[in-house]
């Protein structure tokens, strides 16, 4: 039996992102040889973990046709809650702290999801509201910075390469493990596939018996949980938590990573690997900026250009695909 397989353009997308990562890296190395050092690679990988966690959540939301701008605030809020616990008791078991951060993040995500589905309000508006509400709530609950002195040393060690068995910081390992879990979830479980189906064609999904509301709530909860985890990693990496600033704007960086990694804003398309590569690319750009002496302030502008460029490219690809399909219709 003849098996015909036409265009593998979807795999192409991830590959192109990876190629871009190497391309940018080597170009920058040519401009600034210092970049080609163990240190800078470490730096890339240290920025990487909490961005990746938030990006994983954002990716799932975008695949299901939602947008979430509150993830940075969820990161901060979860981190803050854990920080208060640490302030009270520095010996609080780390595992428990992680659990609390994740659950609290999930809870905040649940609120997002319920409001969006129950009241049928566009996700951008709801999360714009909760972004500010959560951030503000931190201050209503006190809002003092969580200092370095309050953070258990063990937590900080998680971001240090030397402190780990393999030479790779635990924080990086955790985020990669989460990426793998998300990948497995999305590609090999029913619920994961339902997320794609819902984003691809919500009406058809309903007709197939998929409970679209549950799917939507799920992605918000998962994104919240991942952002809660990111909060812990954030504290681990930065060493303290300034509740006004922590995670601010991170969701837009995450969107940039997700979009350049091949996830489509119209839903139904996106891979974890692409998001990982997208985060890598942003990490490289981020460090390239600081090391080559370009003002660090270019970061945000560049991310914005990346978003627009990636979105336009994907749109062009999609339209040519549709034309191809039109040709097939004869």
């Amino acid at each position: 039996m003849e098996k015909t397989e036409r265009f593998r353009i979807y795999n192409f997308r991830e590959l192109s992102t990876l190629i871009m990562v190497f391309l940018v890296y080597f170009i920058v190395c040519l401009i600034e040889p210092r970049f080609f050092s163990f240190n800078s690679i470490i730096n890339i990988f240290l920025f990487f973990p909490f961005l990746l966690l938030v990006a994983l959540g954002e990716m799932m939301e975008i695949i299901s046709r939602n947008v979430d701008v509150s993830l940075g605030s969820i990161l901060a809020f979860s981190g803050y809650v854990v920080g208060i616990i640490f302030r009270g008791n520095k010996d609080f078991p780390l595992i428990l702290a992680f659990l609390i951060a994740i659950l609290f993040g999930a809870f905040l995500g649940l609120i997002n999801g319920v409001i969006v589905t129950k009241f049928k309000i566009p996700s951008v508006i709801v999360t714009l509201g909760t972004m500010n509400f959560y951030r503000g709530m931190i201050f209503i609950l006190g809002g003092k910075q969580i200092d370095n002195s309050n953070i258990p040393k063990d937590l900080v060690k998680m971001s240090q390469p030397n402190a780990s068995v393999i030479g790779v910081p635990y924080s990086v390992i955790i985020s990669i493990v989460m990426a793998v879990l998300v990948a497995v979830f999305l590609t090999r479980t029913r619920k994961g596939r339902e997320i794609y189906a819902t984003g691809c064609n919500p009406e058809a999904a309903k007709l197939r018996g998929i409970r679209v509301n549950m799917v939507n709530i799920l992605v918000f909860v998962l994104a919240g949980a991942l952002s809660g985890l990111a909060g812990m990693i954030f504290i681990s990496r930065i060493g303290y938590l300034d509740p006004g600033v922590a995670g601010k704007g991170l969701e837009f960086t995450a969107i940039a990573a997700v979009v350049i990694g091949g996830t489509s804003m119209s839903g139904g398309i996106g891979t974890t690997l692409g998001t990982v590569f997208g985060c890598l690319l942003l990490g490289v750009i981020n460090n390239a900026i600081s090391i080559t002496g370009i003002s660090g302030y270019w970061q945000e502008a560049i991310y914005g250009i990346i978003i627009i460029a990636a979105v336009i490219i994907d749109n062009v690809i999609k339209r040519s695909l549709q034309k191809y399909q039109g040709v097939l219709r004869g």
Partner: protein, 323 residues
């Protein structure tokens, strides 16, 4: 049967437009509760200047949303224009020239949004998330962490200049512009075309409306208003920083939605936006007097945004059940 008639009449009275009045009253009550010093007319009037710039942006935003589009880059636009003016002023360029330049630049920034949206046919949400970062980033590049000051005497302090001794000029500008916009929306054919586009883009196209041209115009107009807002903020703050516009989107969107404009388009209430402006001013002023930090304030406004949407949706459903 009579029961149904009564419920129907009840349902007809609970129009979405009513909410804003209720909120207005509630906000005044809240303000009074928060601080005994609240009910001071001249104080309240001068407090409006703190939000007047955002109010101006919200007026143009109302038009844009009526046509079914959204622009998340408004605060960044405003900031970028302010920073460009500040940086160039430091280089010695004439302020009057810079004001004109700023207006042009803001319009162009909006125009870019319009072109991207109409050419790519992508949702404006996505495009403006991108341009928001670009504009914000460029402002950052220009100004860094610095706070640029030293503007000419005649330029600064627009918020102190009054009409009739107690009404600040920014408020007057806002109200005048708001009323003109409302008149255009409700009483000109152009306003009808805008509404038609938001109601049903395809039907508008079939009715020979040049949808793309009007959308580009509205985005450019939004950009212009952002530029005006940027100029006014420098005048008021006497300083230009890259953080001028931070968080502005929240207030703008809340004003527009609270005022009764429909998110899905086709229904624009500029007067509602103006009233919602006052609601926000009252709430913020009350909170300021009660020494709420800015963070607490945004928590309240964030919650307000969500509550507003929930109430609007509920009322929509309610009135749709009309027999």
């Amino acid at each position: 049967m009579k029961q149904m008639q009564l419920t129907n009449r009840f349902k007809r009275i609970i129009k979405p437009e009513l909410i804003i009045f209720i909120f207005l009253i509630l906000s005044i009550i809240a303000g009074v509760l928060l601080s005994p010093n609240f009910l001071d007319a001249s104080f309240l009037l001068s407090s409006t200047t703190l939000q007047a710039e955002l109010g101006l942006i919200a007026v143009a935003f109302t038009l844009l949303m009526t046509a079914g589009e959204i622009d998340l880059s408004v605060a960044s636009n405003m900031t970028l224009v302010a920073c460009i003016i500040a940086v160039l002023y430091q280089k010695g360029i004439n302020m009057v020239l810079l004001i004109i330049l700023g207006l042009i630049i803001g319009t162009i920034l909006g125009f870019i949004n319009g072109i991207l949206v109409t050419a790519t046919k992508l949702p404006s949400l996505i495009i403006t998330i991108g341009t928001m970062s670009v504009y914000k980033g460029l402002a950052q590049v220009l100004v860094g962490d610095a706070a640029i000051s030293g503007f000419p005497e005649w330029f600064i302090g627009i918020d102190d200049k009054m009409v009739f001794k107690i009404v600040p000029i920014p408020l007057v500008i806002l109200i005048v512009v708001g009323i003109i916009t409302e008149l255009v929306l409700k009483n000109t054919f152009f306003g009808r075309k805008v509404t038609a586009i938001g109601l049903n883009k395809e039907a508008a196209r079939y009715s020979a409306v040049d949808v793309d041209k009007i959308k580009i115009f509205l985005f450019s107009l939004q950009g212009l208003f952002c530029a005006v807002a940027g100029i006014m903020s420098i005048s008021r703050l006497e300083v230009a920083k890259y953080s001028i516009g931070t968080g502005g989107e929240l207030d703008v969107i809340t004003m527009v939605l609270l005022g009764g404009t429909a998110f899905s388009g086709g229904k624009g209430r500029t007067l509602g936006t103006l009233l919602a402006f006052f609601v926000l001013v009252f709430i913020r002023t009350g909170m300021r007097l009660a020494i709420f930090s800015n963070y607490s304030q945004i928590a309240v406004i964030g919650a307000l945004l969500i509550i507003t949407m929930i109430i609007s949706q509920k009322i929509e459903e309610f009135s749709k059940d009309l027999i």
